[in-house]
Symmetry: C5
Subunit: 306 residues, 5 copies
């Protein structure tokens, strides 16, 4: 157990030893073991965008076993997926990598003005499949926010009792937020803060832009001279918004990008104090060797080796 | 126990021996026993379309005992029906054929823009009636999708704890899907994938057309050259979308058709790797001898004897 | 125990001996005991239409004791009423006649486009009051049909566990059904079939007219030459729609009618194979002697003595 | 135990001895003890109309202790109030007067077209505070009637199990009822009948006017010559509508009135067979001595001493 | 235990010794210990307004440890915060200051016409974190008031069983209340009264203005000559509206103000009989030494030392 991992665990004084054990399992697994940094492979895009749009460019990916192997071989800290995909692999890969059950999901066969995901699995499923934690998406800004916050509050309470880690994907969107505002620095840091207040152990947000969405916030950013010019500045701000850095905040890779663009962004995430990346499509849609190389480059960037 | 059945069971590593036993019972019953293929007789159309429209052309069908006998005599793998119909036959035919309780149903006395079926029975009913599994219809694309996915998530969790098999009927429909889009290849494979992610052991969809509904999907189908020209191509694609073929996918017969048309379609389903058919109206609306002949021809097609 | 009662009980092979016992109690009570026919006195119109409209023409009826006495003296098979009315009489008349607790009710102080009754009592109440069963109204065709079907599915499951009989009043109505359509032969037989599929032991519908409401159904009635010209034809068809006659189907008396009209209709119900009548206003709004005479004439008609 | 109290208890044959004991406690307490008549002091107007509008004219009333003392000193049968007000006094006045917990309440900071009160306390609270019963308001005629009837059905079932008395305040109102119709004789007697059918032990309605709201009812009142000309006639009719007088029906005082007007009305209530009054504002908004005098005059009127 | 604290405890005769112990803990902690007055530091504005708007002007505040230390060092009676923030500090500061878990929260990424907060934590969380009580916000005047009142009724019942203190933040707002009306004296005292009736031990409202919102109330204020000219008058009126002063009523600081304005207001609150302040932004947005000085000046004002 490295001093850094111990330090991070010390921020979670309210959790039981079961949850700390599972949080340590994530931090002590793979290429980034012991660094306090983490890269997680999430594969829920088949549900979110449809199978062809997700796996068509690399058909090996239709098989959930492909992804868990990719995560193991590249040295990811954990692999996250919905119920069905984990049910396929949980027995065959038992104990080989920490698993995170993504307990709510959306699809794109219906678009709603009040976005909210469906609860497709639960704490009991995470336990029977040997997972270390659950993942949950909230959409702050949605007219259904009360509904979602209460779903995760309840799931989180049960997860913590069962010694599981709670990972919240926090994506602001809704009728009163512009498209550009969804990644605005004030909105991203607000969404991250909400996830922290809801009791997340690990918070996942998108990398923020320098746009500021809410006028009341803009006033404060200007008056207080809060730095948001560079990505590193903004990451620092988002991490600060999560209890002054006492919660693990990781960033998604977003849309498909070229390797150079991606690694540059990751470099800025690391520079700003981000705890890691959660990278799906940008990894598994590439050929396997290429995606392993990419994931490891990302890990090495967070480890300060690049 | 044939090697093929063992192989199929091996895909369900997350399930308890109770569920595997019931899944094996389905695969080891009837004319297709041991082949890993299956034909199921479902009779819920009385509820869905009304009794006269369903049984008027063959009035013997008003009696649920007729159907269970038809399923037994033709050598179907299982018989599926709503609560009332199973209550009539469960004692008299106990142990003669695997039964699947269709736990949700719709009727056509009211049409809703946001389609969703009613939960008309539950896990306890399936157990007290000696069923091997439950059947559940979802309508991906409906404004009520969250509601439905959560109903089946909960029912599925309880069914699996009780050692039952979960069969999901996945029919995309809703305000943002065109009539043609309901059977589009991208939509059908998406609907099948959702059912797989929801934890279905057996997935039932309609045979897909070559139409592609969603622009974002069309782009990928074209760029990646995904083959959807023939029915066999499309079936292969749908099966692939269900965890690279690691879930049992069966296809419905749909509207009444001539025997020739039907058998041709079944031949393509089999050729594309479909695991079988679930055939209702096309079977029981014919005179009994004719329907037994048809069902057995279908079975023999899947068995590769035709 | 007559052979006919034994035969009827044999159709309910999924039920526990407790429910069969209570079903037998209904069939073995009163003037029609042992015939397999039944006449039930229901008094929920005070709730449904208001007390003055219901009891104003025979004020003795304000007292629930009047009705239970009427049912006993005339030799009805059972008496059905809402919670409050049964609470008044259950102790004083304990064991004198089978009681059915009507567990949901509507009133006419508010009219809704999406009709649904309120659950005003439950299984526990039926048990503590010594009832043999519960009664429940569904409105197929209502926008709230899912809600209702799930209420009765849950109530029915609990009732069957507790050895109670389930009686479903099935009245189609809603935004997509015309006034005339509410008693159309296709709609009535569909509504009866839904009740059967929902697991009812006894199904109550209105006597059907020869009107056919749904075009898709009309086509089948014509093509298949289904007979609906006479009331006896139609009753035969409705009974057939309930699992080929393997469920008890009884018919309501409807609006106040002259004795002659009423007895003629009952005669046709009996001729078509109806299992009996559930007759409220037409009975208790007449002076007592007259209503006893009428009820007994109805019974004798079903018994084939008239 | 007087013969009259015994007689009244005999109407509640479905209740357990616990509930009868508490009903007897109400009838055997205070100035009207043993008469079978009752006057209850209810103080929920602070919640319903706001504190200043309720207590501003007699500021002693801000203190809940004032009211319970007023009820004790004047000899009321019971004191009814919401949770907070009872929590203030329950220990200090334990055992001095029967308490009724008003478990639902509305306020006037928001007006709804579909009126419904909020459940602000429950059976457990009534038990821990030593209450003899619960009070509940329903609004027949509201679009939320199903919701309310089911709330009281559930609360009533639990209350009866716990040996508590159920008092229903039944006030018809809603989009399809005119302002005048809210106190129409047909509507009041219908509302009272609904409360009786819902299982109330004690029913509270407003004194009815001679207006008839519903055309279908008007026809019957006229045809059957139902007397509604005098208040005594109408009270007799309302009491009859509650199971021919086998349920306790009491009447509210309504808006502030002069003492003369009020006592005249009470005299008519008594003459028509009303079981008593539930009088709030008309009592506690007067100076204490005056309100005690008034309450006792009301009691003496019901006792036949005036 | 001072006589004043004993006196205050005596008003809570319905509570169990567990709750009284926790209420005493609040009153016996910090600079105001034993006076029966209290100042609470609440920090939920990060959730309510976003992190930058809340902590940007004093970035030390991003760390929840900063606030609990501020509360301890200044001698506050308690510290209140949402789940996440308390989870960060509960172990490290265990036993150093009474903690109140704010169990519902809103954010400003979506504005609703029918305001209601989300339940983000619950009784079990309060217990496992060592809290003395729970905090809950209601919005009387909202179309969701029934929903909120029922949430707090249920939470309050469980909290009281568990020996916790219930603090209700009562802020009237909604479609039928003007912006000015939200702090009108009639509305504030009504909102406070509702909180008292809902069973709150401690009630938090905003300092009221002399505006009167509701015409029906205005009439009474005028006729009865209720004094609302000075802040002290109004505070006296609000306290009276809470069971004649038998409930603890404290007042929020509201928007950022200069120290002079703030202390003048606090002086009036104290003069009018307010039990204390709950002061967030006005405290922690100042530099630490300045905020300690301010909080202690506020405390000394309530203690009568200023």
């Amino acid at each position: 157990m490295t001093p850094r991992v111990r330090e991070i665990l010390s921020w979670y004084g309210a959790d039981n030893p079961g949850t700390l054990t599972n949080l340590a399992r994530i931090m002590n697994h793979g290429r980034l073991a012991g660094t306090g940094k983490m890269v997680i492979l999430p594969v829920d895009q088949g549900f979110e965008h449809g199978p062809a749009r997700t796996f068509g460019m690399n058909p090996d990916g239709y098989d959930p076993a492909y992804h868990v192997q990719l995560a193991i071989e590249s040295g990811c800290n954990a692999y996250a997926a919905p119920l069905g995909a984990l049910e396929v692999v949980a027995r065959d890969f038992a104990g080989e990598i920490p698993l995170i059950l993504k307990i709510n999901n959306s699809d794109t066969l219906y678009g709603d003005k009040r976005p909210i995901s469906a609860l497709t699995s639960y704490i009991d499923d995470a336990l029977r499949l040997g997972c270390v934690g659950i993942g949950f998406t909230i959409y702050p800004g949605s007219g259904e926010r009360k509904h979602m916050y209460e779903e995760i509050a309840e799931a989180s309470r049960l997860a913590k009792q069962a010694g599981l880690v709670v990972v919240i994907w926090s994506y602001a969107r809704g009728e009163q937020i512009s498209k550009e505002g969804e990644t605005a620095i004030d909105v991203i840091s607000y969404a991250a803060h909400i996830a922290a207040q809801l009791g997340a152990h690990i918070i996942k947000v998108k990398p923020p832009s320098s746009h500021i969405e809410q006028p009341a916030a803009a006033k404060v950013y200007q008056e207080q001279g809060i730095k948001v010019a560079t990505m590193a500045d903004r990451i620092r701000h988002v991490v600060q918004a999560c209890f002054a850095g006492k919660r693990i905040v990781i960033f998604s890779g977003g849309d498909s990008k070229t390797t150079d663009v991606l690694l540059k962004e990751v470099s800025e995430l690391a520079q700003g104090g981000g705890f890691g990346s959660i990278m799906g499509r940008n990894a598994f849609q590439r050929p396997k060797a290429e995606s392993i190389k990419l994931l490891q480059d990302v890990m090495d960037t967070f480890a300060g080796k690049k």
